[in-house]
C-alpha cells in the first residue's frame, strides 16, 4: 500500500512542480527524491511497517512476492532516472509531466503486483497503459512517434476490451471478482470459464507482447522516444508479467494442466518469432524491440511451469533483464545512428562504453558470469522440473543460440569493424553509472547468492 499511495501522490507533486517551475533540474531532482522515498517506504512495508492502513475490502493483497518485485522495479526505475534524466529533457518541453506519467505507471505496476480482484487488475493495467500511450507520442514533431502512439492506443484499447469481456465471463461463471474465490472448487473448464480464461490470457499476452499478439511491439518501441522505450521494455514489461503470473497462479492454477499446453505454444511462438525476426533487423533499436519479445518468451517459462522455481526465477529475471536493457538503451540514446553500422569501431573510440555494452549484451544472451545466465538457468530449471514441456526447453535453447547471433552483431561492430561512430558527449557521471551497472550485472552473475538469499528470506 505504501508504494501505491506515495507513487500516486508523487505523480501529482511532479505535475504541480511542472506548473510552478520550468526548471528541468528541479523536475529531475524532485523525481529522484520521489523515487528514493518510494524505495524507502516500500522497504518499510517489506519489513512490516505499513504507513497507510486502508481497508481494501480484499481487493488488494500485499504479499512479499509482490513487495519484493516492487523493490526491484523501484530500484531499476531509480537507475533509469539517474541514467536517462537528461535525455528525457531532449524529448520535449514538459519534462515534469513525463516524470509524473512515469510515477503513475509505477502506481499501476504496484497495483498489478498486489491485486486480488479482477477489477483491480483491470484498473492496474489501465493505469499502466494510458500514461504509456501518452509517453509514446511525446515526440510531437516526429511522425513515427505519433503513429506509434496511435497504434499503441488503438491496439491497447482492443486488448482492454478483450480483457473486460474475459472478466465478465469469469464473473458470470463464478459470481465473484476475487481471484482466490474463482479458484475455489474449480477444477474443470466449463465453456464460460474456458472462454473467460482464454480472453484474459490473450489480453495479458498482448500486454507482455507475446506472439501472436506482439505486432504492436516493434513499431511502438521503435517509434517511441528511445528513453521511454527503455522504460517500457523493462520495468513495465516485468510488472505486467508479475500481474500475469499472479492472475493465473491464483485464479486458474487448479486448471493448470488444461491451459498449460496453450501457454506453452504461445511461449514457443514468442521465442521463435521474436528471435528469428530480430536476426533480420538493420537497426539496433528494432533488434532490441524484437529481442524484448524473445526475452518475454523466456519469462513465459515461469507461467508454463507454474512452480516455486519459476516464481523465484521471474523475480531474478526482472533484475537480470532490466538492468542490462536499461543500460543498452542508455547507450543507444547517445548514438546518432541506430543501425548496426553506427556502432562500428566504438571500442576504439569509446572503450569504456563498448566494454559495458559488451557486458550487457553477454548478459542478455545468457552467458555465465553475468546475471542473464542465472536468469535463464532459473527459467530452464522451472520448465525442466515441471517435466511436461521438455520440447519447449529444447525450443528455448535453440532460440537462445539464435539470440547470440544478433546480440553479438553489436559486439562485432564495436570491436572487430572499423568506423567512425558518431555519438553524443557522455559525461563522467554517466560512464561511472554504466560501469557500476555492468559491475552489478557481473556481480550478481558470479554471486547470485545475494539475490537468491533475498528471495528465500522474503518469499519462503
Amino acid at each position: 500500500m505504501n508504494a501505491i499511495v506515495i507513487s500516486a501522490i508523487w505523480g501529482v507533486v511532479m505535475m504541480f512542480s511542472g506548473a510552478f517551475s520550468k526548471s528541468n533540474a528541479t523536475a529531475r531532482n524532485l523525481s529522484v527524491i520521489g523515487i528514493l522515498l518510494l524505495f524507502a517506504v516500500n522497504l518499510l512495508e517489506l519489513y512490516g511497517t505499513r504507513l497507510f492502513d486502508v481497508n481494501t475490502t480484499g481487493m488488494l493483497a500485499f504479499d512479499n512476492f509482490g513487495l519484493l518485485f516492487n523493490t526491484f522495479a523501484i530500484g531499476c526505475t531509480a537507475v533509469y532516472f539517474l541514467l536517462n534524466g537528461r535525455d528525457m529533457e531532449k524529448v520535449g518541453l514538459h519534462v515534469a509531466e513525463y516524470y509524473a506519467l512515469i510515477f503513475f505507471v509505477l502506481a499501476g505496476i504496484f497495483i498489478s503486483s498486489s491485486f486480488s480482484s479482477l477489477l483491480l487488475l483491470f484498473l492496474g493495467i489501465e493505469i499502466i497503459s494510458i500514461p504509456l500511450y501518452i509517453l509514446t507520442g511525446t515526440d510531437k514533431r516526429n511522425l513515427k512517434s505519433n503513429e506509434a502512439s496511435l497504434k499503441y492506443f488503438l491496439m491497447g484499447s482492443f486488448s482492454t476490451g478483450i480483457m473486460l469481456m474475459g472478466i465478465c465471463l469469469i464473473y458470470g461463471a463464478k459470481g465473484t471478482f476475487n481471484i482466490e474465490q474463482i479458484a475455489l472448487g474449480t477444477t474443470a473448464l466449463t465453456p464460460m470459464i474456458g472462454a473467460g480464461l482464454l480472453l484474459l490470457m490473450f489480453s495479458m499476452a498482448f500486454k507482455v507482447s507475446a506472439a501472436p499478439f506482439h505486432f504492436w511491439t516493434p513499431d511502438v518501441y521503435d517509434g517511441a522516444p528511445t528513453v521511454f522505450t527503455s522504460f517500457m521494455a523493462t520495468i513495465v514489461k516485468a510488472g505486467l508479467f508479475i500481474a500475469f503470473i499472479r492472475l493465473f497462479e491464483s485464479a486458474f492454477e487448479t486448471m493448470h494442466p488444461q491451459w498449460q499446453t496453450l501457454i506453452a505454444i504461445i511461449t514457443a511462438a514468442t521465442l521463435i518469432i521474436g528471435n528469428l525476426t530480430a536476426v533480420f533487423q538493420q537497426s539496433v533499436k528494432r533488434m532490441l524491440a524484437y529481442s524484448s519479445i524473445a526475452q518475454a518468451g523466456f519469462m513465459l517459462f515461469a507461467l508454463v511451469a507454474m512452480n516455486g522455481i519459476g516464481r523465484e526465477g521471474l523475480l531474478y529475471y526482472t533484475l537480470a533483464y532490466s538492468v542490462p536493457t536499461i543500460g543498452i538503451f542508455a547507450i543507444l540514446v547517445r548514438m546518432k545512428d541506430y543501425t548496426f553500422e553506427g556502432f562500428n569501431g566504438l571500442a576504439k573510440h569509446q572503450p569504456v562504453l563498448a566494454a559495458v555494452t559488451t557486458i550487457f549484451l553477454l548478459s542478455l544472451a545468457g552467458i555465465p558470469a553475468t546475471a542473464g545466465f542465472m536468469g535463464k538457468f532459473y527459467m530452464l530449471s522451472a520448465a525442466i522440473q515441471n517435466g511436461h514441456v521438455m520440447w519447449l526447453v529444447i525450443v528455448g535453447i535453440l532460440c537462445a543460440a539464435i539470440s547470440v547471433y544478433y546480440y553479438f552483431r553489436v559486439i562485432q561492430a564495436m570491436y572487430f569493424k572499423d568506423g567512425e561512430p558518431r555519438e553524443l558527449e557522455t559525461s563522467g557521471f554517466h560512464k561511472g553509472l554504466l560501469v557500476l551497472m555492468a559491475a552489478f550485472v557481473v556481480f550478481i552473475g558470479i554471486f547470485p547468492q545475494w539475490v537468491i538469499q533475498m528471495l528465500y528470506d522474503f518469499i519462503f
Binding site: A369, L380, S381, A400, F408, Y415, Q449, Y456
Partner: protein, 489 residues
C-alpha cells in the same frame, strides 16, 4: 588451495594485463604469470601429497546445492600440467610476433587459461558449466579480433556451435540435478543420481553433443578447420592443444560415470562416428595445401581415436586416453609453432609455395621432424605409448563387439597420417628452394629453446612413460569401477 591458485592466478593476472600499457610489459607479465602457474602445477603433482591441499570446497550457492568445489585428481593433474606447460610455450614461441592492442590479446589469453583450469578442476556441475563457457568467451574475442580475413563469420560459427552444445548440456545438468539425492550439483551426488535407462539414453545425447562439438567428433566438426585456419596461431594452439581436451574430460568425468548404462548402450554408435571421422579427416588432410588446415584435420583424426577408446570402455584404453591427452597437446602445439614460424617468415602457409627449408633452416627442420614423427606415433616418441595403449584397449575391449573392426579401420588412419605428415615434411623442408625460400633464415634462440623443450618432453615421455601412467592410475580405476559396477550384464 593449489587448485584455487591455479584458477585465480591466471584470472587475476589476466585482468591486470588489461591495464598494462606497453606491449613488451604485457608480454613479459603474461610469461611471468604463466610460469608461476606452471611452478604451482608442478608442485601440485610432485611435492604436495596432502589431499586437503589438492582440493577445496568453498561456499557458493548453498540454496541451489552448488559449491565452489575444485579437486586436483590424476586426470586433473595431467590436464592442468598440459595447460600450465602450454601457455609459457605459446608465449615463448610467439615472443617475436606483434599484435595490435597487445595488452588485450595477452589478457584474453590468460583469461582463457583460467577458464580451462576451472573446467579441468571443477567437481561441481554448475561450476563446471560456468568455466566451460568462460573458456569460450576469450577464445571468441581472440579469434574474432586477431584472426584472418574471414575471422568474424568463422568465429561466429564456432561460437554458435559450441554454445548450442553447451546449452544442451545445461539442460542435462539441470535434469540430473533434480534426480540427485538432496538436489545438489556435486560430482559425487551426480554419480548417485537415480536415472532410469530410458532417461539416461536421451540425457546421454544432450551431454554428448556438447562434448562432441568441442572435441570435435564427426559430424559436428565442421567449425574446426575453419576456426583453426582463421584464428591467430597462438589461439589455435590453445584451441587444439588444450581446449579439445575439455570435451574428452567432459566425457570421462561427467558423462561416462554419470550415465554408465547409456554409455554402454551407445558406445558402439559413438565408436562408429569416431571411426568415420578418423578416416574422413585423414583423407581430407591429405588433400590440403594449407598447413593449418592439414594439422586441423589431422587433429580430428587423433582426437577421434581417443574418444573411441573411451567408449569401448577398457582400462588400457582409458589409460591410453589419459596419457595421450597430454601427448597430443604437446605434439600439436609443436606443429603449430612450426607453422607460426614459417608463416611469420614467409607470409604464406601454402605447402605448394614452400620447399627446401632444411638447407636454410636446419634447426627448424630437425625439431620439426621429431615433432612430426611423434605425431605419427613413431616408437620412442611420446605418442607411441599412447596410441599403443589406445589400440590395445579398443582391440581387447570386452564391452564392444566391434572392437577388432574399429581397431582395423582406425589403424588405417595411422597409415594415412604417416602419408600426409611425411609428405608435408618432404614438400616443405626438402627438395629445392624456390624464390620465396631461397633467403630463408633459421629460427631464433628463443624459438629453438621452446621447440627444444618440446622435443625433450616428447623423447622423455616416449622412453619412460611410467610416471605419467602412475599419475592417472587412480582416476582410471575410479572411473572404471563406476562404469563396470553398473554394467547391465
Amino acid at each position: 588451495m593449489i587448485p584455487v591458485l591455479l584458477i585465480v592466478i591466471p584470472l587475476l593476472s589476466g585482468l591486470a594485463t588489461f591495464l598494462i600499457k606497453q606491449e613488451k610489459g604485457a608480454k613479459t607479465w603474461s610469461l611471468f604469470s604463466s610460469l608461476i602457474t606452471l611452478v604451482i602445477s608442478v608442485l601440485g603433482i610432485t611435492v604436495v601429497k596432502d589431499q586437503s591441499a589438492l582440493s577445496a570446497n568453498l561456499e557458493w550457492l548453498p540454496m541451489l546445492g552448488s559449491s565452489f568445489a575444485v579437486t586436483l585428481d590424476g586426470m586433473g593433474q595431467i590436464l592442468c600440467l598440459l595447460t600450465a606447460v602450454a601457455f609459457p610455450m605459446i608465449f615463448g614461441a610467439t615472443w617475436n610476433a606483434t599484435y595490435k592492442n597487445a595488452k588485450n590479446f595477452y589478457a584474453l589469453m590468460l583469461l582463457s587459461q583460467a577458464g580451462l583450469m576451472g573446467v579441468f578442476l571443477a567437481y561441481d556441475a554448475l561450476l563446471f558449466y560456468f568455466f566451460w563457457e568462460l573458456a569460450l568467451i576469450p577464445a571468441y574475442f581472440l579469434c574474432s579480433q586477431w584472426g584472418g580475413e574471414k575471422r568474424i563469420a568463422v568465429t561466429m560459427k564456432f561460437f554458435i556451435y559450441t554454445f548450442v552444445g553447451s546449452l544442451f548440456m545445461l539442460i542435462g545438468i539441470i535434469y540430473v540435478y533434480f534426480h540427485t539425492p538432496g538436489q545438489s550439483f556435486a560430482l559425487e551426488d551426480f554419480y548417485k543420481a537415480a536415472l532410469s535407462p530410458k532417461e539416461q539414453d536421451w540425457l546421454f545425447w544432450l551431454f554428448f553433443i556438447a562434448f562432441a562439438v568441442k572435441m570435435p567428433i564427426f559430424p559436428l566438426h565442421t567449425w574446426q578447420p575453419d576456426t583453426y585456419e582463421q584464428s591467430p596461431t597462438a589461439t589455435t594452439m590453445v584451441l587444439s592443444g588444450v581446449m579439445v581436451k575439455m570435451g574428452l574430460l567432459g566425457v570421462i568425468r561427467w558423462l561416462a560415470p554419470v550415465l554408465p548404462m547409456a554409455t554402454w548402450q551407445q558406445g558402439d554408435t559413438v565408436g562408429l562416428l569416431c571411426v568415420i571421422g578418423m578416416i574422413y579427416a585423414s583423407i581430407l588432410a591429405m588433400q590440403q595445401d594449407d598447413l593449418k588446415r592439414l594439422i586441423a584435420y589431422s587433429s580430428i583424426a587423433h582426437v577421434g581415436l581417443m574418444c573411441l577408446a573411451i567408449f569401448v570402455t577398457s582400462e588400457k584404453g582409458m589409460q591410453g586416453v589419459m596419457i595421450q591427452m597430454f601427448n597430443h597437446g604437446i605434439n600439436v602445439i609443436g606443429l603449430w609453432i612450426v607453422v607460426e614460424l614459417i608463416e611469420r617468415q614467409f607470409k604464406t602457409r601454402k605447402i605448394s609455395e614452400l620447399g627446401g627449408l632444411a638447407q636454410k633452416a636446419p634447426a627448424l627442420a630437425i625439431l620439426l621432424v621429431v615433432v612430426a614423427l611423434a605425431n605419427v606415433a613413431l616408437p620412442l616418441t611420446n605418442a607411441f605409448i599412447g596410441e599403443f595403449l589406445l589400440f590395445t584397449g579398443v582391440f581387447t575391449s570386452s564391452v564392444s563387439k566391434m572392437g577388432p573392426v574399429f581397431t582395423a579401420v582406425a589403424a588405417l588412419s595411422i597409415i594415412l597420417s604417416a602419408v600426409y605428415t611425411l609428405n608435408m615434411i618432404q614438400r616443405v623442408f626438402y627438395g629445392n628452394t624456390n624464390q620465396l625460400t631461397a633467403n630463408a633464415r633459421d629460427i631464433r634462440p628463443n624459438e629453438k629453446l621452446v621447440l627444444g623443450i618440446l622435443v625433450v618432453a616428447i623423447l622423455v615421455i616416449g622412453v619412460y612413460p611410467k610416471p605419467f601412467l602412475e599419475l592417472t592410475q587412480g582416476t582410471v580405476d575410479a572411473i572404471m569401477s563406476k562404469m563396470i559396477i553398473k554394467h547391465p550384464i
